[in-house]
Point group: C2
Chain length 216, copies 2
DNA sequence: TACATTACTGACCAGTCAGTCAGTAATGTG
DNA sequence: CACATTACTGACTGACTGGTCAGTAATGTA
């Protein structure tokens, strides 16, 4: 609109390397908030402080932007998780807790958390991206937990169990909590202090609900 | 298109009461599959076997159709759940398992399951509907589980616990499983036999992961 | 047959938005 | 200064879709 305000900020110099990252960050926020179709590229560009034309200098289409947001956002986290797991030795209960807490710090409480909700919402419209996400995030993420559980069973700290189902039971509350913050979260103002929540969650998981062992 | 095929089915008589239900069923399927914005009313009408004009005889706008799909779809299930709970007496572990199984039969394996995913995806675009859903589905649903847990604690079958967190831990795998079937489910062809999954899930929840009680 | 009512249709309109591109501004370089 | 290159802009367009409404078909009924 107003072309007279050129130097809106003194640090507002050209940083050509930063443009795609800025655009992807803006797109992630809006995709998570409104969904892919309901997000206008004009709004994405505006939030990144550029015009729509600039967006098309870096991304060939709206769909390419979507793919970039999903693919480049989450992969580094998995890399770090696998690195962390390969170095840790010792108590598997603590390891499990440490990994979940770490995930919370790196994903759950950052803007990356929205990717989970975004992928679930849009999987039907982007089967190829969904497939990519499944193979590179879901399968690898489950693999991390599987390793911890198998170590724990081998060391007799964990009971024998159906490991695949246990992975679901462990990850589901994490994922729901994450999704929640980007959907129905604003409806309930309680549920603060995620670290405390995580600890309680872990204790329940480790010890179960029953007072006594129940053979069955 | 082809207006010559009028009697496509012998039972294809006018059933004016059925029209809104047919339209809502078609809309639910498409909303879940594609999201609200990406769903075209022409497609909804076509799937219900009528024209777009007919849709507007029963729903004032696309948004009203959305509200009707959410509000009228899920409420009867909660009514039945509360009825069931008020009549049951006895072992709370079994009660919990029975309720989760029942929920699976009435929601999880029916087309109603999609409402969960739909509401999570679209909550940001429809805050009022989200608020309604939160108060009438989430709060009531959690109330059902809370009652079971409190009964179990009172009868000493369940250990003392943070009940609100336990509700999360119990419901999250259910909800994730449901959401999964309508998003990334098609990517992994495993994960069949939900009844067996539910039983394993219950066992893990009740007994926990550890071999021995851990004081902390 | 004549008329009324109900159910439905689909061409049309008006608004929206992804994607384009001719042109501008800033910077570099000799 | 002249010229080239890079970064960016925003008005424009073409396709699409929510919503409308004049008209048609089926049924009722007298």
């Amino acid at each position: 609109m107003n072309t007279t305000e050129i130097s809106e900020s003194p640090s507002r110099q050209r940083r050509k390397e930063a443009r795609p990252a800025e655009l992807m960050a803006a797109a992630l926020e809006l995709f998570v908030e409104r969904g892919f179709t309901a997000t206008k590229l004009d709004d994405v560009a505006a939030r990144a402080g550029v015009s729509k034309g600039t967006l098309y200098l870096y991304f060939a289409s709206k769909e390419e932007l979507f793919k970039a947001v999903i693919q480049q956002g989450i992969l580094p986290v998995l890399d770090q998780g696998e690195e962390m797991l390969s170095q840790f030795q010792g108590d598997e209960g603590l390891l499990l807790e440490a990994m979940l807490l770490r995930w919370w710090e790196m994903v759950g409480c950052t803007h990356l958390a929205g990717i989970t909700k975004l992928m679930i919402s849009e999987a039907g419209n982007f089967p190829e991206v969904a497939q990519f996400y499944y193979e590179n995030v879901i399968v690898r993420g489950r693999g991390l937990i599987r390793t911890v559980l198998e170590r724990g069973i081998a060391s007799k700290q964990f009971r024998r169990m159906d490991v695949e189902t246990a992975i679901d039971v462990i990850l589901a509350p994490q994922m729901m909590f994450t999704i929640w913050r980007h959907s129905l979260g604003p409806c309930d103002c309680g549920k603060q202090n995620p670290e405390a929540y995580l600890k309680t969650h872990m204790k329940l998981l480790l010890n179960g609900l029953l007072t006594t062992e129940k053979k069955k």
